[in-house]
Structure formats: structure tokens, C-alpha cells
Amino acid sequence: MPVIKDAVCSLCGSLCDDITVTVEDNKITKIENACILGHSKFVGMFEHDRIETPMIRKDGELVPVPYEEAIEAAAKILVNSRRTLSYGWCSTSCEAIGKAIQLAEETGSLIDSTANVCHGPSALAAQEKGSPGASLGVIKNRADVIVFWGCNPVHAHPRHMSRYSSFSKGLFSTKGRKGRKMVVIDVRKTDTAKLADKYVEIEQGSDLLLITALRSAVNGHEDVIPETVAGISKEEILELAETLKNAQFSCIFFGMGVTQSRSKYKNGDGVSSLISDLNQHSKAVTIGMRGHYNVTGFGQVATWETGFPMAIDFSRGFPYYNPGETGANDVLVREEADAAIISAADPGAHFPQKAVRHLAKIPVIQIDPYANPTTEIADVVIPAAVVGIEAEGTAYRMDAIPIRMKKLIDTEFKTDEQITKDLITKVRELKEGA
């Protein structure tokens, strides 16, 4: 039976590439080295219901149709729309993302990724202050202080700590966890916090206050810090600042606790500034804990193809970018979008009610391997291959390292890339006909 080594796990932004997969009769029967999330993706796919056939909603019900009919219906929606939202494209390959962007350009659509409800503010932060980071192996080999701020890798990135951070060993970190100080800053004592040497419980929404206090401490302005900031005593803040200053190499990993809370991107902006200040004393970097396995890839591809990482509006034929105006939720909550194409993401599950209600009102095209809440409000549904298992392609890890995902088993399903190409062809046909 074929055993595939060093397979890439296409679930979260850790993009572990040391998975051993056993395939029997075109089924994955065994998987080694993966976490619970990866295991569920690789082995679960033989248990979960696939969308078996293209479908179109007729009289309120999704009914099976031939592929060509679904493509034509989808293309018609796109051609007849004045403001299409193309959304998702994060649990898929960079090759598919490139085609999605081309489709958006040719249809004058607006295209956005799941960063809209995840690390979008981190991009805005980088646009204010830059993003001082490193590849994950740099942390593994060098870091003696690791901070997890508003993130919970035990749940969201289960192998992160063993492969890249807290527990990993490297050239200058031979003692692994013993040689490292692990700090967790969060609003509640998460399972990650339980593993920390130091847990700092911050008042929800006060991240920028704490970041600013840390900066003042690091920059020698202790005097401006009051006795308590963000629910934390000045003494504790000064101690934390000393820990960071005296590190040989520190890394602040931050998650949605930072990006989604009050002050939004100004928190990430503050973290970048704190990192810059810390480098006056020691080496420090920061890395965002990205969720979808290729949300980083969307940002990369979109940036080189359009100049912008997300929330790109092609209405006028050239890319325009302004999250707050051109983000997926912006145009749904304001009820601007008159059609949507959604792939490799699930806004039905992950957008606020008001946005989902608007999606339910407009024609929605969904491309996905699995039924999910978005399917419930979709009008054209096109099943796709599972990228990273049934199709190969490029993905970018949370630290922007590109890795090629392997094809592990055969499939009859078309890839997102192929479906999108077919849509481009059909859209051109319809436009020429018109």
C-alpha cells in the first residue's frame, strides 16, 4: 500500500509538512503526525458528506443539475451583476486564487478573503507600521521568550508549540521548553494559558493600553505609567517589559484576541511598534497566528496581482482597496452587493447575522467540497475537489513560507482552479454574445 511521507496538512496556518499518509484503495486509512484538526480533515473526509453533484435552487430547494448548467447559471449571475462580492478562497491553492482574482477583474467584482473576519486588521497594522517578522524556524532555533497574545494555539494550532515555538528545540535552543519563558496574555485562562510560565489576564478590549504601557516601559518612560493599566498592575507591566528587554530573542505571536477586539488594527500597529522599540535592546519579532491554511497565500497572490492583500474592488477596472468600504462585511452589511460567489470559506457560519441575511437575499454561487451553512443560502452550488488531498498546489504558511501541497488520492471532482477557469470562459462567452 502506498505510504506518502512529508505530506502537507491543509487545515490551519501552521501548514505542517511532515504528515505520513497511508492510502489504500484510493482512501486514506492512516495518518501519522497530524493533530486532531488535521486528522479530522484527512480521515474525516471519508466520513463527512460531500456535495456530490452541482445543484441549483429551484422553488426553494437545491436540485441536482449537470455541471455545464451550473456553470452557465453561475456565469449569468456574474455577468448580470453590478456589484458582485467574490469571497473566501482561503482553503484552496494559490493557483485557484490567481484565477479567482482574474475572474473578479473580468467581471468588475469586489474580492475579499477570510482575513476580513480574521487577520485583516493585521494587514492594516502592517500598512501603518510594517510587519517585523521571521520564519517560524527562526523562533524554533533562537527564541528564549515566547508570548502568545490573544491566541490559543492549543485549540487553534495544536502542533504549533511542538513544531515551531514553546516546545521546539534548535541550534541555540537545545533545552526546548526548559530554556524558554512562555508568556500568555489573554482575557481568560485558556488551555494555552495553563501551560505558560506567566499568565497575564487583561481586561477585554484593553490591548492597546497594555501595549502602550509596555512601550513606555521599554522606552524608559516608566513615569507616565499609572498604577494600573488594562487591569494589570504597573509592577507586573514593568516586570513583563524587563522579561522582553532581557530576552536574547523574543517573539510575540498574536491572534484574533488582538485583531478583533476594541482598537482592532491599532493593536497590531502597537505590537509592531513595540517590536521595533524592543530591538533597541534585544532581538524581537512578531508573527500573526493565521487560521485558514492558505489565508496567507491569498494575501500574497492578491498583493502581487493587484497591489493589495484583500478587499479589492475592481468596479472601475483597476484595483481599489479600502477595508471599511470594500471589505466583504462592509458591502453585505450595507446591502450593496447584488450577487456573491463564495469558495473555500463559509460566511454563512462566520459572518454576523446582518451580513448573512443579505447574502440570503441575493443570488449566491458556492464552490465547496462540503455542505455547510453557506449552502443553506446558496442558489448555485458547485462541488469541488479537496485541495491538499485530492489536488496539489501552493499554500503559504502563516510566516509566508510557500509550500507545495501534494495530491494524495484521485478524484472525479474538479478543482477550484478548473471550476474558476470554466467560469472565466463562460463569462467571456456570455459577454461576447451580449
Binding site: A126, P132, K283, W304, T306, R316, I401
Partner: protein, 574 residues
């Protein structure tokens, strides 16, 4: 679709590789190559006596990979329209994808705009090997141009260990493997050892300052890699970004580095060393207070040396984005200028940083930087040693090349700019005393001909029979124009070629994109004896097992990333 035959009539050819200096003749093209003659059915382009050169070749540009960080952190660059027709947002057309940007244009704009300038080949100056797929993914989306890239070796653990342990053969084997893994064309060394020091927030201070924990000096790294480069008989020499870049007084390190390479014997008919963006490395003085030009000293050395080439790194006034594997320099820039700062250290390999900035003629430092690039071009007598660059977009965007050409060709144009400088700036430069004006012939050498030799690409940068039919026709009648006076016309003509042909396809006509064929990617596959290769692989196996976070089997860039590859094989002299 490729026209099989083209006849370019009445071309005023300037092709220094053949010693042709603006002579009017016909050029024949068949199947993408320059040929002796074509049949009567050939498509005819009437050049009408206009200036005709081989396609331009930018041998040092940041156009794929790190530039994406620049785009990402500067969305404001996308809306800049500083150079009409070559910057800013442009809607898609039937022939072209949508475009944005100035210093950091999207990939499509890079292809179209270089082609409009008559350029047909670029060399990306820095591929971080672990992230090499990224560079090639961007290459795939840069239309028209032929591409190559230089892989970073200067702070690589395996390299430093082999240098320290005096294992030159294994070092050569590792370089060959790294080039293959990253599909690189040559060896780039950025601030040798400095990337590793930056891993601890430090830097190396010069050629003989040991790299922390590795017990090697930058000088040893440079010499070790040069030896490996020659052992592998690579088509390009080592490509060096010197230590101490951007620091007053660094011209001494630069000359010292150049001198050190006098003892390197090239195994291929080309230079032993290419020193890049020398403008940033030709600074005299001891601090920014007494900062002044070091160009005369560097030029003086270069005039007596015959073993090396260099490029300018010319500064353009206005916004720029600095991006380099020299991590500590970028951090220092950001603190000094209070600018945003991105950093990306790459495990076991190198560092990098990106910082936007703006060069102002009102700043005496920027004015002197501007002058240094031009001084180097004018003070160094032999243009075959000089490649014209702005180190795009470090000194400024490549779309300003036509503007910069006028600095070299017209003393009047220089006077115009210099008249805006303060006395302090004028006291720190020698440019006002230089009256040399470069000819079209000399410009052609610096923008295409010398690159052919420097990169051992005989089919590029010239119009010899058998060469690639990459041709640029500019709307200039050389006999009717005095570039010294009519510099505006020169700039206009170089800003939008009358024709650019790529492999015999008309890709630009009257400054507009006509076709967007996919270019090639050149990479080097250097042969290494099997026993040495296998010994080296045992060492790298350990690196991957213990220190990398990517499996060795997932490291190598797959064929699918190079849709149109050209593999250059070298035999090696082991």
C-alpha cells in the same frame, strides 16, 4: 502568435557588442532569432532611421519576492502617478491586466512597463531559498520579460560551516544544490555574515569581524563562495552587496572587498566579482554630519582594476522603497527616518527588511547620494564595467530610468537639478565639476551589452546573428538630436519605445502594449561529482532534521513553477 519572419528596415543600430555605433541598416528576424536574411514574405517594420538597440537587460532589480512586502505595507504606492504612462492605476484592457503602483507595481505592470522602456530581461537580485517558490510564482505573473534570479548564500549556516571547516568541495556542492533547489541563476551575497548576526539583533562591522557563534569572518565567506562559484564554473560571478552598506566611510570596506577579489581567478570568461548598487557603498566621512562622496576614491580604484563589474544604484528624488536582505540596515533606516519597518529573517539562511522612504533634493545627504551614482558612472572610464541600475525600487523605481539616462547624457540636465541643492550638498560632491556626457553607444553598453558578458548570456543584449530577437526601437534620430540640450526628448523617447520586440514578437508599439507572451526563466544546474554531492547531502539532511521547519523533500522548487524554463548546465572543475 509568433510571426516567423520580420524585416526591420532602416534601423539606426547601436550595438556595442559588435562595435556598431548608430549605423543605419536592416535587421532580419526569423523564429525569434536575429538572422542574416529573410524572405520577401517577411513582415516589414520601418524603423525610419530611428535608434535601435537590443532589448534592455536590468541585471539587478527587486521585482519578484520581497517586493511583495513593499506592496503589502504601502497600499498608498498603488495610487502614485508620478511618471505618466508608467505609474498609477490603469484599468484592464482586452490585452492587458489591471495595473497599479509606482515603486512597487503589481506583477503585470512590471512586465508591461519594463517592455515599454524597451527592456526584455530582468534579474531579480535576491531569492531567499526557503521562500524561492514565491519568487517563481511572481515570475509566472510577470508577462513578456525573460527572468532570472540570484540566490542568497551570504549568511547561510551550511555555507558558514563549510567555510569554517575548510570544505571547499562540499561548499561548492551545496551551492549547486541550493541553486537547483531555488532555481537560481547565481550566487548573491548580502552583507556577508550580517544576516546571521541580525538573528541576534546585531551586525558585523566589516570584513574581519567574526560572525557570532560561527567562527568565520565576512572575508572568509566571500572568498569561500567565490571559490565555489568558480569551481562550479557558474555563468555569473558572485554578486556582492558589500558589508557596511549605507554607512558614512564605507567606501573603504568597498575598495577592500574589491581588492580581495583580485586573487580570484574566473573559470568562465567574465568578471570575478560584481559589486552591486555601489552608490550605497561609496560614502566618505565618519558620520552623517561630515558625510561626503566617496565616489572619486572608488572610481579611482575601479579605473585601475579589470577583474570586476559594478552597478550604480542611482537615486531618484521622490518616494522609494528600500528592500534588502541586509536586515540590520533596514532596521537602522526605520529608526533613523521614523518609517514603517518590515523584517523577515529566514531560518538558517538570511535576513531581510523593507522600509519606504523618500529622497529629497533639500536633504544634503540625499542630494549627495544622488550625485554619487552619477559620479561613479562618469568617473569610471570604461562603460563595460558599469551596469545602469537604480537598484529598483531602492534608489527609485525603474520607471525613472529614462529620467536617469538624461543625468548621464546631459550636463545641462544635471545643472538643472544641482541648482536646487544647498551649499552644504555642493561642498560634499564632485559632480558639478564633471562635464562628461555619455553617448547613446555608452548608454547601450550600460543598459544591455555589458549584461550579456556579465551573465554569460551571449544571446542577450546584442543584435548579432543567432541572438534572441529582443529589440527596442526608440523615437530618436541620433543624427538630428543633441542629447545634451534636448534631454527632454531623450527622456520621452526612452519612456515609451516605438517598438519593443521580444523573441521577434511585437510587444510594444508606439509606447502601447501589443502582446503579452510569457517569457523564460533561466536557472543553473551545476554538475557536482556524485561522491561530493552525497557527502554534502548527509550534512544537509541533519540541518533539515534538526533545524529547519520544512522537510527537505518539500524544499526543492518543483518544475511546475517554471512554465518556460531554460536550464543552463555547467560542468564544474573539481
Amino acid at each position: 502568435m509568433r510571426m516567423s519572419e520580420i524585416l526591420i528596415k532602416n534601423a539606426n543600430v547601436c550595438d556595442p557588442a559588435q562595435g556598431i555605433n548608430c549605423e543605419t541598416m536592416d535587421l532580419c528576424i526569423r523564429d525569434g532569432k536575429i538572422v542574416e536574411s529573410v524572405s520577401e514574405s517577411a513582415e516589414v517594420i520601418d524603423a525610419a532611421g530611428r535608434l535601435t538597440m537590443a532589448g534592455g537587460f536590468d541585471g539587478h532589480t527587486h521585482s519578484a519576492g520581497k517586493i511583495n512586502v513593499g506592496r503589502f505595507m504601502n497600499p498608498n504606492d498603488a495610487r502614485r502617478t508620478l511618471v505618466p504612462g508608467l505609474s498609477g492605476p490603469e484599468a484592464r484592457t482586452e490585452k492587458t491586466r489591471a495595473q497599479v503602483g509606482y515603486n512597487t507595481p503589481n506583477t503585470y505592470a512590471i512586465g508591461y512597463r519594463y517592455a515599454k522602456l524597451g527592456y526584455t530581461t530582468i534579474c531579480e537580485a535576491a531569492i531567499p531559498m526557503l521562500a524561492a517558490r514565491h519568487t517563481h510564482e511572481e515570475f509566472k505573473e510577470i508577462p513578456i520579460l525573460d527572468k532570472m534570479g540570484l540566490s542568497l548564500f551570504g549568511s547561510n549556516w551550511q555555507v558558514m560551516e563549510y567555510v569554517r571547516d575548510k570544505e571547499p568541495e562540499k561548499l561548492a556542492a551545496y551551492v549547486a544544490w541550493g541553486l537547483k533547489a531555488s532555481r537560481g541563476y547565481g550566487v548573491k551575497i548580502v552583507n556577508a555574515g550580517g544576516g546571521e548576526a541580525w538573528g541576534w539583533g546585531k551586525n558585523v562591522s566589516g570584513l574581519y569581524d567574526p560572525v557570532p557563534n560561527f567562527d568565520v569572518t565576512p572575508a572568509e565567506i566571500l572568498m569561500g563562495l567565490a571559490e565555489a562559484n568558480e569551481k562550479l564554473q557558474l555563468p555569473h560571478s558572485v554578486h556582492v552587496h558589500c558589508n557596511n552598506l549605507g554607512k558614512p566611510g564605507n567606501y573603504e570596506t568597498t575598495i577592500e572587498t574589491m581588492k580581495m577579489f583580485e586573487k580570484v581567478k574566473p573559470t568562465v570568461d567574465r568578471q570575478a566579482l560584481h559589486v552591486t548598487h555601489v552608490q550605497f557603498n561609496a560614502y566618505a566621512g565618519t558620520s552623517w554630519r561630515d558625510f561626503e562622496t566617496g565616489a572619486p576614491m572608488v572610481a579611482d580604484y575601479l579605473n585601475g582594476a579589470n577583474h570586476l563589474t559594478f552597478d550604480l544604484g542611482q537615486v531618484i528624488f521622490g518616494p522609494a522603497v528600500t528592500m534588502t536582505a541586509d536586515g540590520p540596515v533596514e532596521y537602522a533606516n526605520s529608526r533613523m527616518l521614523h518609517e514603517k519597518w518590515s523584517n523577515q529573517d529566514i531560518e538558517l539562511e538570511d535576513a531581510s527588511g523593507v522600509v519606504p522612504l523618500s529622497y529629497s533634493p533639500k536633504s544634503f545627504i540625499n542630494a549627495v547620494q544622488w550625485a554619487i551614482g552619477i559620479e561613479l558612472a562618469l568617473l569610471v572610464e570604461d562603460p563595460w564595467k558599469i551596469m545602469f541600475t537604480t537598484d529598483s525600487p531602492n534608489g527609485g523605481s525603474f520607471v525613472n530610468y529614462p529620467e536617469a539616462f538624461t543625468y548621464l547624457m546631459s550636463a545641462k540636465k544635471r545643472e538643472q537639478v544641482i541648482s536646487g541643492f544647498g551649499k552644504m550638498a555642493l561642498d560634499r560632491m564632485v559632480l558639478p565639476g564633471l562635464d562628461r556626457e555619455l553617448s547613446f553607444y555608452e548608454l547601450a553598453i550600460m543598459t544591455r551589452s555589458m549584461q550579456s558578458k556579465m551573465y554569460s548570456r551571449p544571446e542577450k543584449g546584442n543584435l548579432k546573428v543567432g541572438s534572441d530577437a529582443d529589440v527596442a526601437i526608440y523615437d530618436i534620430i541620433t543624427s538630428d538630436i543633441d542629447p545634451s540640450v534636448e534631454h527632454e526628448k531623450v527622456k520621452q523617447a526612452f519612456s515609451g519605445a516605438a517598438y519593443t520586440l521580444k523573441d521577434g514578437n511585437i510587444v510594444v508599439k508606439d509606447g502601447k502594449i501589443e502582446a503579452t507572451p510569457m517569457g523564460r526563466t533561466y536557472w543553473v544546474n551545476a554538475k557536482v561529482p556524485a561522491d561530493i554531492d552525497s557527502a554534502m547531502n548527509k550534512d544537509t539532511d541533519i540541518k533539515f532534521k534538526k533545524y529547519y521547519t520544512v522537510s527537505k523533500s518539500n524544499y526543492m522548487v518543483e518544475d511546475s513553477y517554471l512554465p518556460n524554463p531554460v536550464e543552463i548546465r555547467t560542468e564544474g572543475a573539481f
